[in-house]
Amino acid sequence: GAGVSQTPSNKVTEKGKYVELRCDPISGHTALYWYRQSLGQGPEFLIYFQGTGAADDSGLPNDRFFAVRPEGSVSTLKIQRTERGDSAVYLCASSLTGGLRETQYFGPGTRLLVL
C-alpha cells in the first residue's frame, strides 16, 4: 500500500477482555515497529520485527502483551486481560530494511480505550 495502515481506528473494550490490533506496513518494508503513545506524551517503543522474527521486544511492558508477524508483512499486537492503564494510542511504523539510518514511517494509530 501507499502508507502504513492500522485497524481498527478505535477500539473500546472492557477491563479483562482480549484485543487484537493490526498493522499493515508499507509494501516491501521488512522492518516493522510498534509504539505506544499515552495522552500528552511522545510515543514509546514496544517491539521491533525484522521479517517474521521479533528482533527486539524489550519495550513490551509485561507478558500480557504479545505480537506476531507470521508472514513477514502484516503484524498483530495482542493484549490479554486488558487493564485501564493499557488505554493509549498504539502506533505502528515500518522502514525499508531496519537500518539505523533509515526513516521510519508511521501509521494513523489505533486508539484503545479500556473501560
Binding site: 522492518a31 506524551q41 511522545g42 510515543p43 517503543f45 511504523a93 539505523l100 494513523p108
Partner: protein, 110 residues
C-alpha cells in the same frame, strides 16, 4: 538510555510569525527525525536529519551532532501548522528503536 528534551513545551503564535523549536539529546545518535503530529494523531515525517541542514518549503532543520542538538525552523506560520512537533532519535548503541522527546505543542492563531 538516551534522554531527548524539547523546548519550548508549548508555543502560541500569530499567523505569519516565525518560530524555532529545539531538541537536545544526551548521547551520540545514528538517526534523528522530526515529526508533526496533526490534530487527528497522524505522525507526519518532516525531516530525517542526523546532521547538517535541510529545507522543505517554509520548514527547515539543522542538526549539530557534535553539540547534541537539533533545531526546527517554521517560517510564516499558518494555522495548519498547529499540532505537536516531535523530535526522535536512535541512540548510537541502543538498537534501532526511536526515542521521542516530549514534544512542542504549537498553536497558530489566525
Amino acid at each position: 538510555g538516551i534522554q531527548v528534551e524539547q523546548s519550548p513545551p508549548d508555543l502560541i503564535l500569530q499567523e505569519g510569525a516565525n518560530s524555532t523549536l529545539r531538541c537536545n539529546f544526551s548521547d551520540s545518535v545514528n538517526n534523528l527525525q522530526w515529526f508533526h503530529q496533526n490534530p487527528w494523531g497522524q505522525l507526519i515525517n518532516l525531516f530525517y536529519i542526523p546532521s547538517g541542514t535541510k529545507q522543505n518549503g517554509r520548514l527547515s532543520a539543522t542538526t549539530v551532532a557534535t553539540e547534541r542538538y537539533s533545531l526546527l525552523y517554521i517560517s510564516s506560520s499558518q494555522t495548519t501548522d498547529s499540532g505537536v512537533y516531535f523530535c526522535a532519535v536512535i541512540a548510537g548503541n541502543a538498537g534501532n528503536m526511536l526515542t521521542f522527546g516530549g514534544g512542542t505543542r504549537l498553536m497558530v492563531k489566525p
